[in-house]
Symmetry: D2
Subunit: 361 residues, 4 copies
């Protein structure tokens, strides 16, 4: 991508027949905005993508945007390279597979009112959408789900003001805070859908407060450009064929290089210390969530991410964790997203990798 | 450090007799500013340090500041933790050492006029100071020098204006640009002093232009708070005793995790993938220089550090490389400094580590 | 505008018949990006606008983008409100006007190669386009031209690298610097076209160097999203009818409140100290260019805009000057653009106001 | 000031006998940090000032810091120039004054525990200190108080963690939020001390919530570098002699140029539109508090300050309001401080000016 509106590479692949536009079911990518409330690179990319698909599919962009989840994380701090992964599904003949292959399912919730953001109604909305996406993926065992990406709406100052005018009470009118609550609600929703959390085991006050509640498979983004919860479920299934498989690991903290090595090992890829160029070619996607430790320390030593008025804490941590993961992978085209509240261990997060089986040789 | 003016820990060590104030010969540290022209955390720390030493040594701070190099790099992006290393030297009886030990020497140049910053006069001034510091360290073979830290003055808009008023022509009145030229002059000066570069092999135009000229042992900082070049030379010498040794490696680029593993191996420390807690206790100091690749790509993929109007490119790269190195070391108390022009390979930099020999077991 | 892609208000005006899509000849607006190289809010707005007009006009967006200049300045620092002015022209019967009315003309240059940016070829390209736009406006006397807006292309790191690969030598590969040179070239081009500057009176080295060369009617923006120079000429002409007129004044420095009062007075509007609500309703557009004084002082006192590593200097000055002008106007919907190199007095800039004649009562 | 640690000008005035070090009772100034939690320019200035006074007064700096309030606001965005005002009081013979003159009083509260920040205990602590400062100033009528500056402590992530470890419950561990609550508590404390607010008319929940509670004479800063509340009361009193007087006005919003004109008129100074150079020489100090409107709009139009992830909202508004006020005054050496919660009208703030009576001629 030359810029957030540059879809020329996908256009070329579609024109050349490598990608069939009708096979596209989801997009996950990194754009070069700031990842905050005023990051419009995500909306710009989405508009460009939908215009492109609309041209090829002869369907209105307004309809496609409610059918194909386009989950973008803004912020390519440090060594990250702006990029996007296009998930395609095609029907094929039943092949007796040697094992499970990557499975994908998607779903959209109904639009979420501003006053519901970050509350139980939000959790429920996400949980239902995740269940729908798992069903859509045809994954039967919840253990086979490895990564659930949810893009949640948040409030801007304007949306909050509109809700207040309408007699509603948004949780907050601070947009950055709203994004954090939205991510928490998303993580709770995933945990509920995956049977990791009982609905009776939390209330509204648990969000952004009880960090023992977490899902190591939830990856939640939040942004101003969506109005409903968009869900992508990734797992392995014997009903699917193809060269790809997925694995995931929780990350204990921002220094947890072991998790990176381990998730690669799960897929048969070694890194000592860096993935070889050949194996790197087998890696289709690296998905990471991370978080500046809210207690102000990492392994006992003070960090300054939360006290920095100049650089948003999420930008700090994305840059650091991406530096670590990209160093092991040997490639900056990785998805590292901040705001990992309740997504993996507190102060840490998670990593998921999609790679082809050749990696196991 | 609780903040850039917090020297309470050193005060405690001196009060407790662990550190003798008279033994302090140099300081290298990271403070939590932005690392740019308007980073005053370095001056604040220096003022606090000199006041502390002045109190203990009964010498005026104004004199100490010209005797004890205090090299600070601003910017603890991401996982870095603000900290400082205090280098102490004490006389002892001659001990027949099994080999070489860490040696240290320091020197100060005369104050550098604003119009000399980034020009040959600056290079010469640094080279002479480096030679003086090597002599001060008692290092006989240039190969035994592993790390030369230089802190160079730069111009601010005000200094540039004053020079112009005085009829002089500063190289630039853009402070960030001035810092870059100052770092380049420092690196050339180190290369000249270490016989890596002949004075006849470059001219003023080579600075920030011919990146084939580089010293893998030069670590240059630049800041508004110094007026002369301050030099710290670190190496190994059979004339010194003590448990510590130093090693260094160039870093090819910001993803060069191999250099980190290799420099640790040089000191007998393994990381697979992370240094063990025991070995981590043997590491006294980790010193890194890095640089956003000026060609806009890392291993063929576009990075966005140089195009970001919101976050300075040096802050980006420090955060990323520190994430990588801290992940291998398992500790955020590392010195990672940006602005590695001509210091190691273009787009990369260097890493030096000081560790005790127990690490070699 | 709710966000940079929100053209719903214009859509409503077109749907309601207030605006005829075919009458739209130019757009000038402020979007809420950072105004720097990585400000994609301008591209996002432009894409959204062209899609909207394409839908109404049944012409491809790719063609419209080369017919309708869409000049956006990113950065609504402080009290500024994101907004856009749509310039429409409709044919009418010849009305014997009491005097001159607002006239507008537009033009596009050929695409500008990256290596030409900021050089004489760039100046010539702009000058020719300005002459074409003046002719297009039907303005006969150059004195009747009051404001010439030019949007110039600049280089990104990627564009610079591509040019170098192609054997060309771009002036710089620093994008922020490239934007500054592009603006300088634009101002020189306007000055040449308005007979304020002879082609023989400058050379390449004069750009960003000889600040005695300036045009008090040139307003230049630069951005990554355009490849040719886009020109909008605004003036007064007896051949045009309509309620609007335009006036302009140079601004001596960032504190020049007198220029604001004077340009309003030129249009018969008083501000003592603020424009009344009734008169404010007569003001159609306020266009300002400004610049952080490169000598580091304003009226003898040090400012810190140029030494700030955290906030770009142009963002600083836009916020300050917008605070002043909006305070006089009583409205934050003003166009204040930074980067006023050679556009009005050094360290200052210019202000132009478009208002209806009722203001004169 | 060349930088935040530069007190050379005051040193010169003391050395020259213009200022008697023993007369210094308070300092109010602007330093060039970011004004946020990690703004250490305030601590740096304070340390430098106290060292200077200590040298002249032969008293330990540690004692002076608890006797002389040093209130600094970080952030000289836009046209502001870093500067400080030194308030001196000298005993003299009783002069039958024609009227009231500027009176000043100071006070310090006891250190405030981290868990009290932003709560009623904080309000009470401030109110008591303000009453003490009024008594210290010898001001008898509360109406004669025109400006009460309070510097309040806040929590950092580290302080909050320490309090939690000690079994306490800080209001928040978000430093920026803590600063806001601290400012609110300070404003409530001033209002209580000035009999504008009854203690029974609010509770903890009113802070940062009920914005009908406000004091148009309260100016509150908050920073990590203080541990107790420091108070400076400024007013007019017939018991004091000297050429200076003070006046104040509330500011309705960030565009309220009328308040600037009016407060100057109160002191007999006209600005049409700018204060003349002669009158400007009579102005000793300009003190402004301002605030980004939390409802997201100014006079009905959306502003983007609160949604900007790159630039802190307080930096935005300081730059804008300083642009306006400096434009009227014709000088960038003004004190404009953000965070005006409950200090003047919601979304606005206040302005106070100290000028000599010659201004009235």
């Amino acid at each position: 991508m030359a810029h957030p509106g540059d879809l020329s590479e996908l256009d070329r692949l579609i024109a050349g027949g490598t990608v069939h536009a009708a096979d596209v079911v989801a997009i996950i990518g990194k754009t070069e905005g700031n990842g905050g409330v005023n990051d419009f690179t995500r909306g710009y990319f989405t508009q460009s993508l939908m215009a492109l698909l609309s041209r090829h599919l002869k369907e209105p962009a307004e309809q496609l945007i409610h059918e194909i989840p386009c989950v973008l994380s803004g912020g390519t701090e440090g060594v990250m390279s702006p990029h996007y992964s296009v998930f395609c599904v095609s029907e094929g003949e039943a092949i007796p597979a040697a094992g499970s292959s990557l499975a994908i399912g998607t779903a959209f919730s109904a639009p979420l009112p501003a006053e519901d953001v970050g509350r139980r109604a939000h959790v429920d909305s996400v949980a239902n959408a995740v269940r729908a996406a798992i069903a859509n993926a045809g994954i039967e065992r919840l253990d086979d789900v490895h990564f659930v990406q949810v893009k949640c709406p948040c409030v801007t100052v304007a949306r909050a003001a509109a809700a207040i005018t309408a007699g509603k009470t948004p949780l907050t009118n601070d947009p950055n805070k709203s994004m954090a609550f939205a991510r928490a609600a998303g993580a709770f929703g995933v945990a509920v859908a995956l049977d990791e959390l009982k609905p009776s085991d939390f209330d509204d006050a648990s969000l952004l407060s009880d960090f023992s509640i977490q899902s190591p498979r939830a990856s939640i983004s939040s942004g101003v450009e969506v109005e409903s919860n968009e869900v992508i479920v990734l797992g392995n299934s014997p009903h699917w064929a193809g060269p790809l498989r997925i694995a995931h690991r929780p990350m204990i903290d921002a220094l947890d290089i072991g998790a990176v090595i381990d998730v690669l090992a799960d897929l048969g890829i070694s890194a000592s210390p860096q993935v070889s160029a050949v194996d790197a070619g087998c890696i289709a996607s690296v998905l990471v969530k991370c978080e500046p430790d809210r207690r102000g320390k990492i392994r006992g030593h003070r960090h300054t991410m939360l006290d920095d008025t100049d650089i948003n804490a999420q930008r700090h941590v994305r840059g650091a964790v991406a530096g670590l993961v990209a160093g092991v992978i040997g490639d900056g085209r990785i998805f590292v997203s901040g705001g990992a509240e309740h997504q993996g261990p507190d102060g840490g997060g998670l990593i998921a990798v999609i790679a082809s089986r050749e990696g196991s040789r």
